[in-house]
Amino acid sequence: MRRTLPIVILAGTLLGGCYPYQDQYIEDFDAVFTLHAEEGIDYGGYQTFALVDTLYTWDRQGELVPSDSRFGPAVIAELRENLLAAGYTEVSDPFADDPDLVAVARATTTTHVDISYYYPWYGGWYGWYYPYYPVTSVSSYNSGSLVIDLIDPDLFDPDTEQREAVWTMYAAGLFEGSNASIETRIRSAIDQAFSQSPYLQAD
C-alpha cells in the first residue's frame, strides 16, 4: 500500500494535468459555421427577402415538417431582425413580389446516451481485488442544431431540380439549461452568424 499510493497519486496528477482545462459552461460547446460562395455571388446586389415564418425539423423518415419547438418564434424573429439590419427589405407577398432571397430555418435536437463499464479496484486485508460485475455509469445529454439557408430563387439547378442556397448557417451546441438561456444562446448564435458574414449587406 505504501509503495502503491505515491504511484497512484503521481499517475492521477499526471493524467489530471494532461487536460487541465475542463469545459465548465454550456456555452463553451456552442459553435457557429457559416458557408458562403467565394466568388460568383454578389451578396450586396440582393435587395429583398422573404422569410418562411415557420421553423422546420426532420421527422423520423427524414422529411421536413413544421416544428412545434417553443423556440421557433425566437428563431424567426432574430433572423428577420438580422436580415433587416443587413439592409435587405422584406417583401409583403413572397409569391407576388419575387424576392431576391428566401430564408428558411430548420432545427433538430438529439439525445446522446453514454454507457460505460469499469472495474474499480478495492483494497482489503487479503490484497487488492475488483468486483466480478462491472460498475455501470450512464450519462446523457441533449444537443441541438440550427440550420438557416438563404436561397436565391433564380439559381435553379436542373440536375437536382432544386434551388441553391447562397449562404448557410449551421449552429450546434448543448440543448441544456433553462428555456430562457437556450433562447438567449439561439439568438446569440444567429447574431454571431451575421456578424461573421459582413458581406451580407445590401448595397
Binding site: L14, G17, C18, Y19, P20, Y21, D23, E27, D28, F29, D30, A31, V32, F33, T34, L35, H36, A37, E38, S143, A172, G173, L174, Q192, Q196, S197
Partner: protein, 199 residues
C-alpha cells in the same frame, strides 16, 4: 536577466568548497516551459505543468556524465470567441487547445569543476518523443498523436547541500521535437528546478 543569472552562478562556483567526488545523481525536477514558433501559434501560454526524472553517472576520471531522463510537459490554452476562416467557411466557437509532450532521452553532460559543491553543467539529450495535440471545439474534438525525434540541449547547475548527499538542480533547456507530415516541429524553452540525490 540572463547576465545576472550567469554572474550568480559564477560567484557560487567560485566561493563554495570542495567535496568528495560523486558517482552521479538522480534528479526529480518540476518543469516549466515557454512554447516557441508554431507551437506558440497553437498554445502561446507558458506551461507550469511539467516534470522530469533524470539520472546521470560520471565517466570515471572525466567531467562527463552519461544518463537518461523521462520528461513530460503540458501546454494548454482556452481561446474564446475566435472566428477561424477557411475558403468558403467561417467558424466561431470556444476552443480548448492542448499539447502533451513526452520525451525519453539519452543525455551527455559536461560538468565544470565537478569536485566543487556547485557544479555548472551543459549537455545534450537525444531520443524519442511523443506529442499528443488536441483541439476541443464545440461538440467536436480534433486530435493527432505522433512519435518524434527529440534534440534537447540544456545547461544548469547542481548545488550540493553541505553535509548531505542531497542537492538542488536548476537549469534551462531547449526542446525540439521533429516535425511530421501533419504538424510542424514542436519547440519550447524549458526551465526546471528540482531535488538531486548524489551517489
Amino acid at each position: 536577466m540572463k547576465r545576472s543569472i550567469l554572474v550568480v552562478l559564477v560567484l557560487l562556483a567560485s566561493v563554495t568548497g570542495l567535496r568528495a567526488q560523486v558517482g552521479g545523481a538522480w534528479s526529480f525536477n518540476y518543469a516549466m516551459a515557454q512554447p516557441l514558433g508554431s507551437t506558440a501559434d497553437f498554445t502561446e501560454n507558458m506551461s507550469f505543468l511539467g516534470f522530469v526524472v533524470e539520472g546521470r553517472k560520471f565517466i570515471p576520471g572525466e567531467p562527463l556524465t552519461v544518463g537518461g531522463e523521462l520528461g513530460w510537459q503540458t501546454f494548454y490554452q482556452r481561446v474564446e470567441g475566435q472566428v477561424v476562416s477557411r475558403p468558403g467557411v467561417d467558424v466561431w466557437g470556444t476552443q480548448y487547445r492542448y499539447i502533451n509532450t513526452f520525451a525519453g532521452l539519452f543525455n551527455l553532460k559536461y560538468h565544470l569543476r565537478p569536485e566543487r559543491m556547485v557544479v555548472p553543467y551543459a549537455g545534450i539529450g537525444l531520443g524519442p518523443g511523443y506529442v499528443y495535440q488536441r483541439l476541443d471545439f464545440g461538440l467536436w474534438t480534433l486530435s493527432d498523436d505522433s512519435w518524434r525525434f527529440v534534440v534537447r540541449p540544456d545547461a544548469g547547475v547542481l548545488i550540493q547541500f553541505p553535509g548531505s548527499n542531497m542537492g538542488a538542480n536548476l537549469g534551462v533547456n531547449y526542446h525540439h521535437f521533429s516535425k511530421t507530415k501533419s504538424y510542424d516541429e514542436t519547440t519550447f524553452v524549458g526551465f526546471h528546478v528540482g531535488l538531486s540525490s548524489f551517489f
